[in-house]
Symmetry: C2
Subunit: 474 residues, 2 copies
C-alpha cells in the first residue's frame, strides 16, 4: 500500500493525503453511530485530480468513499472500520464557477457548502431554494448524492429537481462533462438523475449546474392551530388552491412535539399549545412575487376561509421578519427539545398525503399497544407527505435502553405501516450503510435486481462506496 | 414463427394479434418517413398480458417495439422493414385507475390519450398541465417514454417532472410495481427517471402516477411585438421577476414565421406583423390563482414596464377566452403555414436562454452564407430555451429537392452551432431511429459508454426497441 499512497501524494500533493492525526471529522458519521478507519483521506483540488485519484484507486483495487460535509444521517459518507477504504473528500473543490442571470443557472463545484451556494445566488439577486438544517456544513455534492429534501420541496422540489447538469468522474476515472444549463434535452438516458441520489455508489459528482429562481418580493409566515391531522390535510388543500405556487412551506407539528419545546425552551413561547382541542400546529410560508401587503391580504383571506371551514382553531400571521424567524425557530427546535428529553427512535418516512391521517391514527394505536406509555414526537413536511415520526420512551424510562432494546421492533412496525399505506421508509435521508437491510426488505425485488444490474454495469469492480445502498453484491 | 403467433393469440386473444390487412397506422411513422413491416401488432389489455407477451417475445428472441399513439417525430415507435419486430401497442390499456384529490395525484394506464388524461383531471377540478400539439392522439405512455415537453414546461417541467411513479414490464417480463404517489422517496437508484425518456429501449411503461395541480382561477394571454431576440430574452427576465411561477407560457415567433401565417391564413389576423422594427412576437401566458382582474392588472404592469425598458414595441392582452384562443391559434398554425409554403428542414434544438440571441445571429449568418436566399422559420418555447429553428428553401426553389439535397449539411451546421453554444440537438423530440447517428456525434463518449452499459445490463438480449436511441450494440 505504500506504493499506492506515494502515487496519491504525487497526484494531489503530500499535504492532501492524510493518514495520521485526528481524522475523526472524516471518519466518524454525523450522528456518531460509526467511527470508521480510513486508509487515507485524499483531498483533490480539481476534477482532473479527482479522476487521477479514482484511476489510481482502480489500479490498486482500493475502495472509495466520496465525502462532502459528512453530514449524512444514514452513515453514507464515512469509511468502514477495515482501514482499507479511501475517503475522497471534495471540500477543496468549492468554487462557484459561474452564474448565468438570463438563463437562471449557476455552476458550482461539489464541495461548495450549501449556505455558500445560497449566498452566491443571493448576491446575484436570485434564489437557490434548497434549505435544510445542515446547510452550514453540508455540501451541494452531498445534497446531490443523496437527493436532499428540506423545507422548500413543496414549491421547488428535491435537490434532483434543482439540477440541470452534472460533471461526474466515473468508476473508471473518466470525466463525464454533463454540465448543461438546458431545461429540455432529450438525448439518451437520464444519467443525471441516475447519479443524483445514488449516494456515491456509481461515480463522483464533481460539479453541477443548478436552477435559480427570481427572489420573491415578500416571504410571510403564519402559524395555525388545528384540531386534527385530517384538518391539517384539509388546510393544505385549501392553501394550495388559494396560494398556488406561492405556498412554499407547510410544516406540521404534533402537540407533544411542541410541548417538549415549551418544556425545554420556555423562552420560545409556543403559540396556542395550551389551548383546548389543539392537536397539531401548522407553519405556513407564502412567497409572494408582488409585495408584503399582498402576501398578508392573501394569508388573511386563506386563514379566514380555513377558520370558517373548521380546519383552523386559531392562527397568527407574523408581523415582521423577527416574528417569522421566531416561529421557524420553534419548528427547528423540535429535534433539540426531543434530544433534551432523551434519545428517541427517529424516522424519516413519507406517505401519500391523503393517507397520512389514517397512517398516524393506526400507527399511534399499534405503538401504544406494543409499548404502553410510548410518546410520539410527530412533525415534518406535511406538504410533501414527509413525517419525522419519532418514537420516545415512556416518561421516566431509560431512553438509552429503550433505543438499544426497542429500535429494531419499532422500526419494523413503523416501516411496515408506512409500506401498508403506500409510503416509503426513507423520504429524504437516503439509505447509506444504515438502511441497507431495510432497503432489501421494503424495496421491490424487481427494482432491486435492476439496481444491482446497473451498479455492476457501471462499477464492475465495486469500488465506489461499496456496500452502501445495495449491500454486498453477489 | 407460427408457434410464436399461436402463443401470442393464446395470451391476448386472436383478435388482438394482427398480422393482416392495413396496419399502416401502426407501421408508418407520424411524419411518413418510414413505412415499416411488423411481424405482428399485439394489443394486450392488462399489465399481466404485457408481461406475458414480453416473456413470449424473449423466449422466441423476437424484438419488441412498444407503441402508444404512434406520434413520434423521431421514428421511435414504428417497426423497421425487416418484418421481424412485434409492435406492442398499449392502446387497449387506457383506464384512469384513480384520482387522489388530497394527494394531488392520478394513476393512469400507458395507453390513455393525453387529452383524456387532461379531461379526467379537469373533471376532478384539477389540472394536468402537459400540453402539446399531438395531445388528441398521443398517449401518456409515449409522453413518458420520450419525456415530452410542450407549452407548459416553463412552469410545470417536462413529462419527467410530472411523474411520481411508474409501473413497468422489464425486458425479462417481470413487473416492477413502482406506482408510488410520493413526493419524497430516497430508496435506491432513480429507476423512474431512467425509464422516462428511454424511448422503450429499457422496458415497457404500463402505468404511471402523475402529479396534478390546482386549476388557476384565471388564465390570461398577451401578445407582444419585440424588436430583437435580445429584447425577447430581456422581456422573459422581466416577466419571470414580475409574475413568478404564474408565468406559464413564453413562446417566441420570428417575423418570417408569422409572415407565412399571414400569407397562408389571412383570416387569422396576425398582430403587429407589418409594423416597422418588429422582428419577433412573444406570446405570454399568465395563470393566476386569484382572479382575472388580478391577472390583467399584473399583465398590464408588466407590459408597461417592458415598454418603458424598450423590450416591447407594442402589445395586446386578450380581452376574453376567444381572443386568447385566436392568439394561440396563430402560434400553433406556424407548422401548417410553413408546410403550405413547402417542405422544410425541421429542428428541435435547445440552447441556454442567455445564449440564444448570439446563437441565432451566428447561425443565421452561417446559413445565409451557405445557402443564399435561405429563409428561417424560427419559433419555439423561448422560456425553456427550445427553438424550432427550421430552414426553408429560398423563395421559388424546389422544396423537395432542397430537403433531399441539403438536409444533412444543414443539420450538421445547425447542430454544430447548437453544440458550440452549449445546446442540444434534441430538446423535446428524442432520438428514435432518426437521430441515432446524431446522438453518436454530439453526445459525450463517456455518457454514451455509460448508456450502452446500462442497456446491456437491463436488456442483455437487446429485445426492447433495438437500434433506437443507441444504435446497434457491439
Amino acid at each position: 500500500m505504500s506504493d499506492f499512497l506515494t502515487t496519491l501524494r504525487n497526484l494531489v500533493g503530500p499535504a492532501h493525503v492524510m493518514t495520521e492525526g485526528d481524522l475523526s471529522a472524516y471518519e466518524r458519521d454525523w450522528r456518531g453511530r460509526l467511527h470508521g478507519k480510513a486508509l487515507a483521506v485524499v483531498r483533490p483540488a480539481s476534477t482532473d485530480e479527482v479522476a487521477a485519484v479514482v484511476r489510481a484507486c482502480a489500479a490498486f483495487g482500493v475502495p472509495i468513499v466520496p465525502q462532502g460535509g459528512n453530514t449524512s444521517l444514514s452513515v453514507g459518507s464515512t469509511p468502514d472500520t477495515s482501514g482499507r477504504e479511501v475517503v475522497l473528500s471534495l471540500t477543496r473543490m468549492h468554487a462557484v464557477r459561474g452564474i448565468d442571470q438570463a438563463n437562471l443557472t449557476m455552476t458550482v463545484e461539489a464541495g461548495c457548502v450549501l449556505q455558500n451556494v445560497q449566498a452566491a445566488a443571493e448576491s446575484a439577486g436570485l434564489l437557490f431554494p434548497l434549505s435544510l438544517a445542515a446547510e452550514g456544513s453540508c455540501t451541494i455534492g452531498g445534497n446531490l448524492g443523496t437527493n436532499a429534501g428540506g423545507t422548500q420541496v413543496l414549491r421547488y422540489g428535491n435537490t434532483r429537481e434543482l439540477c440541470l447538469g452534472l460533471e461526474v468522474v466515473t468508476p473508471q476515472g473518466d470525466i463525464w462533462h454533463g454540465l448543461k444549463g438546458l431545461r429540455k434535452d432529450n438525448t439518451g438516458y437520464d444519467l443525471r438523475n441516475l447519479m443524483i441520489g445514488s449516494e456515491g455508489t456509481l461515480g463522483v459528482i464533481t460539479a453541477a449546474t443548478l436552477k435559480l429562481f427570481p427572489r420573491p418580493a415578500a416571504r410571510l409566515t403564519a402559524w395555525a392551530a388545528v384540531p386534527s391531522m385530517e384538518q391539517a390535510v384539509a388546510l393544505l388543500s385549501l392553501a394550495q388552491r388559494s396560494l398556488g405556487a406561492d405556498l412554499t412551506g407547510f410544516e406540521v407539528m404534533g402537540r407533544f412535539a411542541l410541548s417538549l419545546v415549551a418544556k425545554h425552551m420556555p423562552q420560545l413561547r409556543v403559540p396556542f399549545v395550551e389551548q383546548e382541542g389543539v392537536q397539531y400546529a401548522v407553519l405556513l410560508e407564502n412567497s409572494d412575487s408582488e409585495s408584503e401587503d399582498h402576501a398578508r391580504a392573501r394569508f388573511e383571506a386563506l386563514l379566514e376561509a380555513a377558520f370558517e371551514a373548521g380546519c383552523v382553531l386559531d392562527a397568527v400571521v407574523a408581523e415582521n421578519l423577527t416574528q417569522a424567524q421566531q416561529l421557524w425557530h420553534i419548528r427547528e427546535s423540535i429535534p433539540l427539545a426531543q434530544a433534551q428529553e432523551g434519545l428517541n427512535i427517529k424516522h424519516d418516512i413519507s406517505v401519500p398525503i391523503s393517507r397520512i391521517p389514517a397512517f398516524v391514527a393506526d400507527t399511534d394505536v399499534l405503538l401504544a399497544r406494543e409499548i404502553p406509555g410510548v410518546r410520539l414526537v410527530n412533525f415534518g413536511h406535511l406538504g410533501d407527505g414527509n413525517l419525522h415520526y419519532n418514537v420516545q420512551a415512556p416518561e421516566g424510562g431509560d431512553a438509552a435502553a429503550f433505543l438499544r432494546e426497542r429500535e429494531d421492533d419499532v422500526n419494523k412496525l413503523v416501516y411496515g405501516a408506512a409500506a401498508k399505506f403506500g409510503g416509503s421508509f426513507s423520504a429524504e435521508h437516503g439509505v447509506g450503510a444504515l438502511k441497507v437491510d431495510t432497503l432489501k426488505e421494503y424495496q421491490s425485488p424487481v427494482a432491486l435486481a435492476m439496481m444491482r444490474s446497473i451498479k455492476q454495469a457501471l462499477d464492475p469492480h465495486n469500488l465506489m462506496n461499496p456496500g452502501r445502498v445495495l449491500g454486498p453484491l453477489p
